[in-house]
Structures are given as C-alpha cells and as structure tokens.
C-alpha cells in the first residue's frame, strides 16, 4: 500500500496540484487538504508537503500569517513524531516562520528567516528563473539521501523573499545539516549575483532539520520532477530531454529522487 501524503493548501497556495502530481507519480497516495483540516483527518497521513504560492498574499511577511494557523501546531507535533514534512517556496517560508526548520534541540524557535531578495543589499524584487544547485551533506536528511554531493541540478525559483538569514546557533551547526546551495553550471559555489540570485547566506536555497525529517526549500522540486519540465538549455538534463523526445522515451527529472526517497523511507525505512 502506498504511503499517504497530504499537500496542505493554504489560502493563496498555487502549486498544490503540480505538487500532488509529482508525489503521486513517485509512490504516494497523495491528496490535497485545506488549512482548516481537522485533527483526525490530519493524523491519517504519513507525510505532508506545504506547497508554493502566496499564503495570505504574503501580508506582513511571506509565510508569517499562515505560520500562526492551528495546522502548524499539528505539523509541529507530527515533526516531533518523526513524520516527513517538506516545505516548498512559500511552504519553506511558513516552516521558517513556524520555527520547524532546523528545529535545533527539538525546539520550534525561529532561527532562520527568508528575507527580501537583494543584490549587494540593494532590493532586486521578485525573481523567476532556472538556477543550478547542489546538495551538501545529503545523508543528513531523508529528502536528500539519494543525491550525491558532486551532482549539479537545474531547478526553478519563483520568489521575492528567499534570502536565507541564519541565527548564530544555526551557523554553528550548519555543516551537520543537509543543505541545498546555489552554484554555477560547473558546480562552483560563487557568492555573487546571478549564481547566488537573492543574497542568501552561504548560497543557501534549502535546509533540512536536525532530525532529518523536515526540509525547507525555496526552489521548486515539483517543477523539475519530470524530465519534460526541464529547459533544453539545462546541460546534461536538457540533452537527456531532447534525446527522450527524439526516441519517445521520458525519464525521471532531476528532482524525482527527493520524492522517491520520501516514499521509500515510509515503505522500506
């Protein structure tokens, strides 16, 4: 039987359907539930994804209003029990504002922030583009354990507030956490724009929790889960796509292993 996954739709979410599609393709019995979900229904799921979008129109700060909802208390308790939780884009912002990532010492205290995009501290506004990333310390998280540190992956970003800011406590343990970082097409972690598109500390694009069962990522893995979603200019992945179109075969996209790893963890451990 497939593990059950809930994509939690907030008022203003806009990526819930493509997220469900990616999760369903790679092993989940996935459904969309609303932010008002009751406790009994919530507890029926093994894993949860907070999708991208603009919950509450990004009022006050992106993700902060949604982070106060009762469903985030449910999620905090689920995280404590070891259930899997993935926050993508606005979902990443919500997890940060709720203190669920990186959850140092098991506490839900706010210790990372997603600030406004900037280039040398000058505001750059909303960014919509494909970027390259690589994974560091992949084995420290359920979500990244199938990736290798040497791999370079294309992935789309769509955000105005995606600049990771860390507390000193998180800085101290950063090398032990699984992280996704912006890099060049050759894999160089260059801190300058446009390789680092938003001024993130340490080029961060995503970060796992200390326990490894929660992950917050600003780029959109669900939009690079199928090879057909990748642009033809995306190096090896683009060439694979063209080859697939020529031969009529379609392989998994660069971010399929994230969803496969989640499902495998729940079925095989």
């Amino acid at each position: 039987m497939s593990p059950k996954l809930a994509v939690i739709q907030f008022p203003g979410s806009n990526c819930e359907y493509e997220t469900r599609r990616a999760a369903a393709q790679y092993g989940f019995d996935a459904e969309i539930v609303r932010w008002t979900v009751d406790r009994e229904t919530f507890d029926r799921f093994d894993a949860y994804i907070l999708p991208g979008g603009f919950s509450y129109q990004d009022r006050v700060r992106a993700g902060v209003i949604a982070s106060k909802l009762p469903v985030l208390q449910f999620l905090a308790e689920a995280a404590e029990k070891g259930k899997l939780i993935l926050g993508i884009c606005n979902g990443c912002q919500i997890l940060a504002e709720a203190g669920l990532v990186p959850g140092l010492g098991g506490k839900a205290a706010i210790s990372i922030a997603l600030a406004h995009n900037a280039r040398q501290n000058r505001p750059v506004g909303f960014i919509c583009d494909w970027v390259n990333v690589k994974v560091q310390t992949p084995k420290a998280s359920v979500f990244t354990r199938y990736f290798s540190e040497n791999d370079i992956f294309p992935i789309p970003i769509n955000h105005g507030e995606g600049r990771f800011v860390l507390s000193p406590e998180v800085e101290a343990v950063l090398p032990t956490l699984s992280t996704v970082v912006y890099c060049s097409a050759e894999g160089q972690i260059e801190t300058e724009f446009p390789i680092n598109p938003n001024g993130s500390q340490h080029n961060l694009a995503g970060m796992g929790s200390q326990k490894g069962n929660v992950f917050a990522i600003m780029p959109h893995p669900e939009r690079a889960a199928f090879l057909k979603q990748v642009p033809e200019s995306a190096g090896k992945w683009g060439r694979d796509k063209i080859e697939g179109l020529r031969t009529g075969s379609q392989k998994d996209g660069p971010w399929a292993p994230l969803f496969v790893s989640m499902a495998d963890f729940l079925t095989k451990g």
């Binding site: 006050v60 982070s67 106060k68 504002e97 600030a115 000058r122």
Partner: protein, 179 residues
C-alpha cells in the same frame, strides 16, 4: 538643517494590518490588542528649516510620486495624529528598520532634484506600526514589554508577528500615551 517626517498610509483597507490583527486575536490569543495600523515613514533631511522645510516637502509631494502616491495614500507631515482612543487604551509607535536592505536613496534624491528642484540632503524610509492596547491597570513599562514580546518580535509560533528580529530592528517612538 532639519529632518522632516512624512507618514503615509493606504486610503483603502490595509490588508497587512487586518490579517496581522486577526492573527494576533484569533491565533495568538492576545485579546488586549485594540487596533493595529501600518504606516510608511520617510525622514527627509533638508538644508532649510521651519516653514521653509515643510513647504519644500509639500512641494516634493505635490510635484512627484517619489515619496508617495496621493491617489491611493493619505499622508501627514511632521506629526502623526493620535488615533481616537479612550483613557483605557495606550498607543505605541514602533519604527522598523530592515538592516539587510539599503535602497538606493541617492537615485531618488537625484530624481527629486531634477524633477522638483528641491535639494534633499538625505533620505531614509522605515515601516511604522501603530499598536493600541488595553491598559488593564498596567504601567507603560510593563505594557511595552508585553507588546514587544507578544505582538512585535517573532520568536516562535505563539509570540510576535510584526518584525523578524533576524533581519529587522525596532525602536519605540516616544512617548507612549493614552488617547
């Protein structure tokens, strides 16, 4: 030399304040919040002072959109009128600085001079929250500490919403006063 403050606010409903107020009441269990409003605050430094400085700021507002858009924003120069409140309420004004962003004020100053002919020496912009709370026989100091902890500085899901201390700093504008 003088610094003139220009307070701006939306003419229609400010959804940021509305959602924050609802979250504070309904989700953060802090019923003592009476009202919440959000302003923009420009601090315009001019070589002139007194009425001459006020006239120059008025001239900038009348002849350009660089500080605000009067079609959709109200504005107040120098003084922010008090919200009508009873003596049972206390108002706090919280000035917020985003310490990571440095907007290109020099470019705005240059445009103002070119379009309006007014020389601005320096310009800065802040967010300003007006928080009105029930006094409940608490001292100003106790209320201020309570507001900072429960309403302003985000620490966890239950505490704070208006600023994120990881990249924003805040200061209370004096004095806190009853209506």
């Amino acid at each position: 030399m003088s610094v003139v403050s220009v307070y701006t606010m939306l003419k229609n409903t400010d959804l940021h304040s509305l959602s924050a107020q609802e979250a504070i009441h309904e989700m953060m269990a802090y019923p003592s919040l009476v009202s919440l409003r959000r302003f923009g605050l420009w601090e315009v430094t001019l070589a002139s002072s007194g009425d001459a400085a006020l006239n120059e700021v008025q001239q900038i507002i009348d002849q350009s959109y660089y500080l605000l858009n009067p079609n959709k924003e109200h504005y107040f120069i120098s003084n922010l009128p008090a919200t009508p409140t009873s003596s049972a309420h206390v108002r706090f004004l919280i000035k917020v600085t985003n310490r990571l962003l440095q907007p290109d004020y020099d470019a705005i100053i240059e445009k103002i001079e070119k379009r309006v002919g007014v020389k601005v020496n320096a310009l800065s912009y802040y967010l300003l929250w007006e928080v009105v709370v029930d006094r409940r026989n608490l001292s100003d100091t106790a209320l201020r500490a309570e507001v900072e902890k429960k309403v302003i500085a985000s620490a966890d899901r239950a505490h704070g919403i208006l600023i994120n201390p990881l990249y924003e700093t805040m200061s209370f504008l004096e004095p806190a006063y009853a209506g």
